[in-house]
Symmetry: C2
Subunit: 130 residues, 2 copies
DNA sequence: TATCAATTGCAACATTGTTGCGTTTAATTT
DNA sequence: AAATTAAACGCAACAATGTTGCAATTGATA
């Protein structure tokens, strides 16, 4: 079995996630780390963190990809079936842990995973009367 | 006002969509057209078709982007808030026009658009006992 | 402290999408 | 039917994002 190590770069990436309330793109993480490590290293760290179920990947409507810390607090088994909100004004992505869509599927489909992304205006931008 | 023209390339792209029951990527379209036109031209045709509300763009969980013909049959006003199904085995994307999720949002969010993608096994692959 | 596989940096490459610009062409007018 | 003209095109170049191979480095363990 492969063991995983705590390196300076991995710790730094995790700290960036801790400090951020919203999901982050690879580029945003790279900028915040300020050349502490190579671009490629960040991709590999993100891959590892996903495998370790510490972060999850979010693909947005506009094709951009972001990553966010997982919230394990309320579940024994970790499921990523929560919703994400993408603000059209400030482009921040937030996890809506409490929003779970209900839906009825046609027969003969086996659903393993769902992705539910809503876009519009977040509370911050809505209050600014944009 | 900008007028739009019916060119050979645009007609060919539309025929590819007509023939396909599933959503298509730029690359898949390019291959089917067999060098009838340039790669860039296809991007520009897709942009136009989206503006004309003839096709819509689908961003998948894995970060890939596909396009599919819009189904206007049941609606006066065209809304893209239907679900998409992404098969983990054959990687086909199909529109689930009848699936509309219901959900409850926290206050102070203004939702303009939703994207609901389910992944798992499609009927074809489910029956093949994968 | 020595060991060794996990991790890293670097270079190179692949894919996807965009932009500028000169040329071609569809649709309209003459 | 020919002239007009803006839309559409091809080509080249570029940008962003992500991947791979390999030699060098380093964290965890003995």
């Amino acid at each position: 079995m492969k063991t995983t190590r705590n390196t300076a770069a991995k710790t730094a990436v995790l700290e960036v996630f801790e400090k951020s309330k919203t999901a982050l793109s690879h580029t945003e993480i790279h900028k915040q780390l300020n050349d502490l490590c190579d671009r490629v290293t960040i991709y590999r760290i993100l891959d590892r963190l996903i495998n370790e179920d510490i972060i999850h990947k979010i693909s947005n409507l506009d094709g951009t990809v972001k990553y966010a810390k997982c919230n394990h607090s309320h579940q024994r088994v970790h499921i990523h079936n929560h919703a994400h909100f993408s603000c059209e004004n400030c482009h921040e992505i937030t996890c809506l842990e409490s929003v779970k869509p209900s839906y009825i599927m046609p027969h003969n489909y086996k659903v393993n995973e769902i992705n539910f992304t809503l876009s519009g205006l977040c509370p911050k931008c809505l209050n600014s009367n944009i």
